[in-house]
C-alpha cells in the first residue's frame, strides 16, 4: 500500500500558543521524494515531526491516504507510525549495547509475534544491501556512516509506506554522506516508499523529486526555493 500526502491549512503552535509553522497546502504523490530545506530554526524539522504525528498542537489537515493525523489520538497516531512510518535521525539514535541486526529490527520487539521474523529478515537484507557485513557486531564499534546505515535499515525493516529523515547526512563526512544519500534514495525508490528528507545537504536534496523551502515557519517564495536544480518541480504550497 502506498499513501499520498495531502496537507491543508496546517498550523503548528508551541505550548505557549505561539505559532511555529503554517503550511497552506502541500501534496506529495505516493512513492515520490521530497526534500525540505531552509535556514536553521525555519521550521523544517517541525514540519517533519508534524507529518509523523509526533506533535500535539496541530490544526488543519495532515492526510496520509485517507487518514487525517490531526484528528487522531496520540495512541492511534503511534499505531499509524508503527504501521506506515519509518524515521531516520541526524545522530542515529541507536541502542549502543545492541548489535546491528537487533537495532535494525527494533520494531520487531513490539510488533505481533507473527510479524517478527519478517521484520528481522528485512532488517538483515537491508543491512547487507547497505554494506554492513557483520550484523552481529555491537553498533558501539561502528563508524558514523555505518551507524546511519543501521538506522536506515531500521527505518525500512518494517516495510513502511513513508520514510521521514531529519538531517540524515549531517553527522557524516562527505563521502559517507554521498554514499548514504544514494542508498537512501535508491532503497526508497525500489520499495515504492514516499521519502521526505529535511536537510541542509544540497547534494542530498538534489536527489529528491521535489524540494520545499521553508523560511520563518512558512513556505518560501517558489521562485527562490528551488535554486539547486532547475529541472526539479517546486511543490505546490500556494
Amino acid at each position: 500500500m502506498t499513501l499520498a500526502l495531502d496537507v491543508l491549512a496546517l498550523k503548528v503552535s508551541a505550548d505557549s500558543g505561539q505559532p511555529l509553522l503554517e503550511i497552506p497546502h502541500l501534496a506529495l504523490a505516493p512513492g515520490r521524494s521530497l526534500g525540505i530545506r531552509g535556514p536553521s530554526g525555519a521550521g523544517k524539522s517541525t514540519l517533519l515531526y508534524a507529518l509523523s504525528g509526533l506533535l500535539d498542537r496541530l490544526e488543519g489537515h495532515i492526510g496520509w491516504g485517507d487518514t487525517n493525523l490531526v484528528e487522531l489520538s496520540q495512541r492511534r497516531r503511534a499505531a499509524f507510525r508503527e504501521r506506515h512510518v519509518g524515521m531516520i535521525f541526524q545522530d542515529f539514535l541507536l541502542f549502543e549495547e545492541l548489535d546491528a541486526l537487533t537495532n535494525a529490527g527494533l520494531s520487531a520487539l513490539f510488533r505481533p509475534r507473527r510479524e517478527r521474523a519478517g521484520i528481522r529478515a528485512r532488517a538483515a537484507e537491508h543491512l547487507q544491501r547497505l554494506g554492513i557485513q557483520d550484523a552481529t557486531r555491537r553498533v558501539a564499534s561502528f563508524s558514523g556512516g555505518e551507524r546511519q546505515r543501521v538506522a536506515v535499515a531500521r527505518a525500512l525493516a518494517a516495510n513502511p509506506d513513508i520514510l521521514l529523515a531529519d538531517e540524515p547526512t549531517a553527522s557524516l563526512h562527505r563521502s559517507a554522506a554521498d554514499a548514504l544519500s544514494q542508498d537512501l534514495v535508491a532503497l526508497a525508490r525500489d520499495a515504492g516508499t514516499s521519502l521526505i528528507v529535511v536537510s541542509h545537504d544540497e547534494r542530498l536534496l538534489a536527489c529528491m523529486d521535489e524540494v520545499l523551502t521553508i523560511a520563518d515557519g512558512r513556505p518560501a517564495d517558489p521562485a527562490g526555493a528551488d535554486n539547486t536544480d532547475a529541472d526539479k518541480r517546486i511543490v505546490d504550497h500556494a
Binding site: 495512541r75 508503527e82 512510518v85 519509518g86 524515521m87 549495547e97 527494533l106 513490539f110 509475534r113
Partner: protein, 438 residues
C-alpha cells in the same frame, strides 16, 4: 473457610501467603510484558547503566538482608535458648527473681543467690513424685569453664546417658562439656570465682581433678562447663560434703540434711510430666522456696521479645521501603538518561504499554535481583551473627531464613514493584520531540 485454612499443611499456607504477595507482581508483569519481546532492551539498559544498577541492587540487598538477618537471628536465639533449657523441667530455688535464678542455673551466668538448706532439699528429694532432685553448686572455674557440682544422675539426664568415657566414681573426677577444652585423662586445678574474677593463681584450690568423661554437644552453656560431684565443690570450700562422716565417701543422694551445706538451686524432674505442675504448686506454697518452669519464664520473656520482634519487623519493612523509595526516586531520575531511547521507540510507533514494559521490567530486574541477593546476604549475616552469639553465650543459635523472612522479602518486592509503575508512567509524560531533537 477458616476450618479449610487451618486444615491446610503449614507449607501450603506459607506458599499461599507468598503467592498472595507475588500475585500482583505476576499480574502487573504479565499485563505489561505479554506479547512483547522487551528482554533485549531491558538487558541493554541494564548494561548501559551497570554501575548505577549494581549500586541499586546492593542497596536493596543490604536493606533486605539486614532486615531478614535480624528477624532470623531473633528466632534462632529464641529457639536456641529454649533448646538449652529443654532438660530443666522444674527449678526449685530460694525466693527471688525467677529470671536471675534461671540465668544462674540453666545458663550458668554467675549470680549472687541465696541457698536452700538441707531439710528443704530433703523434703523435695523425698517427694513421692520426684524422680531426680539434683542440687547444684557453683562458684569455681577452670580457665573460662565454670565448674558445676551436681549429681551423676542429673549428668545422665542432661546427656541422655551418652557420656563418652564414664561418669565419676570418686570425688575428684570430672565430666567435661564438649567445648570445655579438656580431654579425657587431663587433670586440672579449679580456681575460686567465675568469669573475670577467676583465674588468679592465689585463688586456686588445692584439689586436683581428673577428667574421666566427656559430654556430647548440647548446644547450651553446659558445653563449656566442667561437671564434678557436688560433694567435691562443698569439700574444696571446706564445707561438709552432704553426708554424715560414716558415709563421707558416698557420692550422690541421699544427702543428710544435717550435713547439707546448702544449694542455690535444685533441678527437679518428676516421674510424669503432669506431676511437675503439682510439684511446682506444692513448692511454691512454701515461703522458703520458689518453684518455676524455666520454659514458662522463657515464654514470658519471648512474649516481651515478641512485641520487640513485631516492632523490629515493622521497622525493617519501613527501612526497606525507604530504601526502595530512594531507589525508585533514583530510577525516576535515571529514566531521564534513557529518555532519548524512549522517545525513539515512540517515534517508531511503539505503544505506551511497550514503553512501560521496558521501564518496569528494568526496575523489576533491579528490585527482584536485590531482593534475592538480599536473602543470600541475610542468610550470610544470620550465620555470622549466630556464630558470634553462640561463641559469646554458648547457646547454640542456628539462624536460618524461614518463611517469615521470605514473606517479608516478598512483601517488599510486591510493594516496590507496584511502585515501579511510577517511573514507567513518568516515561510516558516525557516530551518525545524535545528528546529526539536534544
Amino acid at each position: 473457610m477458616r476450618d479449610f485454612w487451618d486444615g491446610l499443611p503449614i507449607v501450603a499456607q506459607e506458599m499461599l501467603l507468598l503467592g498472595a504477595w507475588l500475585l500482583p507482581i505476576l499480574l502487573i508483569g504479565a499485563a505489561l510484558l505479554y506479547g512483547f519481546a522487551a528482554t533485549r532492551l531491558i538487558r541493554a539498559m541494564l548494561w548501559r547503566f551497570r554501575w548505577a544498577n549494581l549500586t541499586f541492587v546492593v542497596l536493596i540487598a543490604v536493606a533486605v538482608g539486614m532486615g531478614s538477618a535480624l528477624i532470623a537471628q531473633e528466632r534462632g536465639l529464641r529457639q536456641g535458648s529454649a533448646k538449652a533449657a529443654d532438660k530443666f523441667d522444674l527449678l526449685v530455688t530460694p525466693p527471688g527473681s525467677e529470671m536471675t535464678m534461671m540465668l544462674a542455673a540453666v545458663y550458668l551466668q554467675p549470680s549472687d543467690v541465696g541457698l536452700l538448706d538441707g531439710p528443704t532439699y530433703q523434703q523435695i528429694a523425698r517427694h513421692e513424685r520426684v524422680e531426680i532432685a539434683a542440687p547444684l553448686a557453683f562458684g569455681d572455674s577452670y580457665r573460662q569453664s565454670p565448674v558445676v557440682g551436681t549429681t551423676a544422675e542429673f549428668t545422665r539426664h542432661l546427656t541422655d546417658d551418652s557420656v563418652e568415657g564414664r561418669l565419676w566414681n570418686t570425688t575428684y573426677e570430672a565430666v567435661v562439656g564438649a567445648a570445655a577444652g579438656l580431654a579425657i585423662g587431663d587433670t586440672f586445678q579449679p580456681s575460686h570465682g567465675v568469669g573475670e574474677e577467676a583465674g588468679l593463681e592465689a585463688d586456686s584450690h588445692d584439689a586436683h581433678f581428673e577428667v574421666v568423661g566427656r559430654m556430647p554437644r548440647t548446644g547450651s552453656p553446659w558445653d563449656r562447663a566442667i561437671l564434678v560431684p557436688v560433694e567435691a565443690v562443698w569439700e574444696v570450700h571446706g564445707l561438709a560434703n552432704g553426708h554424715a562422716p560414716e558415709r563421707r565417701d558416698q557420692l550422690g543422694p541421699p544427702f543428710d540434711a544435717d550435713y547439707f551445706p546448702g544449694t542455690p538451686a535444685i533441678i527437679v524432674k518428676a516421674e510424669e510430666l503432669w506431676a511437675n505442675y503439682a510439684l511446682r504448686s506444692e513448692f511454691s506454697r512454701n515461703e522458703n522456696t520458689m518453684a518455676f518452669f524455666p520454659a514458662t519464664v522463657l515464654t514470658d520473656l519471648y512474649r516481651v521479645m515478641g512485641d520487640v520482634r513485631q516492632a523490629m519487623s515493622i521497622t525493617t519493612l519501613v527501612t526497606q521501603m525507604l530504601v526502595a523509595a530512594s531507589v525508585l526516586l533514583a530510577l525516576l531520575i535515571l529514566s531521564r538518561l534513557f529518555a532519548r531511547q524512549m522517545a525513539l521507540l515512540r517515534a517508531l510507533g511503539a505503544p505506551n504499554r511497550f514503553l512501560m514494559a521496558v521501564v518496569w521490567g528494568y526496575c523489576a530486574v533491579l528490585i527482584l535481583g536485590g531482593t534475592l541477593l538480599g536473602l543470600g546476604v541475610g542468610q550470610g549475616a544470620a550465620s555470622v551473627l549466630s556464630a558470634v552469639i553462640t561463641q559469646r553465650t554458648d547457646i547454640l543459635v542456628e539462624a536460618r531464613l524461614g518463611w517469615q523472612e521470605i514473606r517479608l522479602a516478598a512483601a517488599f518486592a510486591g510493594i516496590t514493584l507496584a511502585l515501579a509503575m511510577l517511573p514507567a508512567l513518568a516515561v510516558l509524560r516525557q516530551p518525545t520531540v524535545t528528546h529526539l531533537r536534544s
